[in-house]
Symmetry: C2
Subunit: 125 residues, 2 copies
């Protein structure tokens, strides 16, 4: 049973000229879409890799009114401060509200996991 | 009490022209260096942000023999497939072995945390 805060979430990764680069993002997408439904989650790329944010928004179900964009980024730089907000601004309408969430690396769960990974590599008794 | 697999780990982030971009990586570094000691962990950037990998390696304690580089990246692209291995190759010596670890986003702990973050944004009962 799902209580949705948003009608739909788009996971937005950076994109790369390397075709193998996208594998972990596709893997994450498949995990969450299998659990929560393909109608609830999409995957898009900011640049260099398809599909783009525009592609995915154009194919959304027409009953999606509250859309969230979750950046699969570790930090906020030029892209998330300027480029992506400008893309979102041009895609929004009275019928479609789009919220840009903080990047996934900003979440305390991801931060804690990264700390643990470093600790494990250093080796703890 | 620390059982170290490596004498030292360098956390390697991408780097950015945006001066605020590096904050989460510095925050992660401060967390782990406070716990495990500044002698055990350093932070470096591949490009655009200081210090570089070369800077950090040059300042390492001379008793460091087994060094690991842990990329603070979500996926392997051109940088981790070509650029960073080439940097490491030129920094290695008989006295200093350098191992390039998989990127932090490849660790199951980080993957699980990212899945949970997506699930939380979708909203679960």
């Amino acid at each position: 049973m799902l209580r949705k805060e948003y009608d739909h979430i788009i996971l937005l990764a950076h994109g790369s000229p390397d075709p193998l680069w996208k594998e972990p993002f596709e893997s994450l997408y498949h995990q969450v879409s299998q659990t929560y439904g393909e109608n609830n989650v999409s995957l898009a790329y900011m640049e260099l890799t398809a599909p783009s944010l525009e592609d995915v928004v154009a194919k959304l179900n027409k009953d999606v009114r509250n859309l969230a964009v979750l950046p699969l980024f570790l930090a906020i730089g030029r892209h998330l401060r300027h480029d992506v907000p400008a893309q979102i601004e041009s895609l929004q309408s009275d019928e479609l509200q789009i919220e840009l969430l903080p990047p996934i690396g900003d979440d305390v769960l991801v931060k804690q996991a990264m700390q643990t990974v470093v600790a494990n590599h250093l080796g703890k008794v």
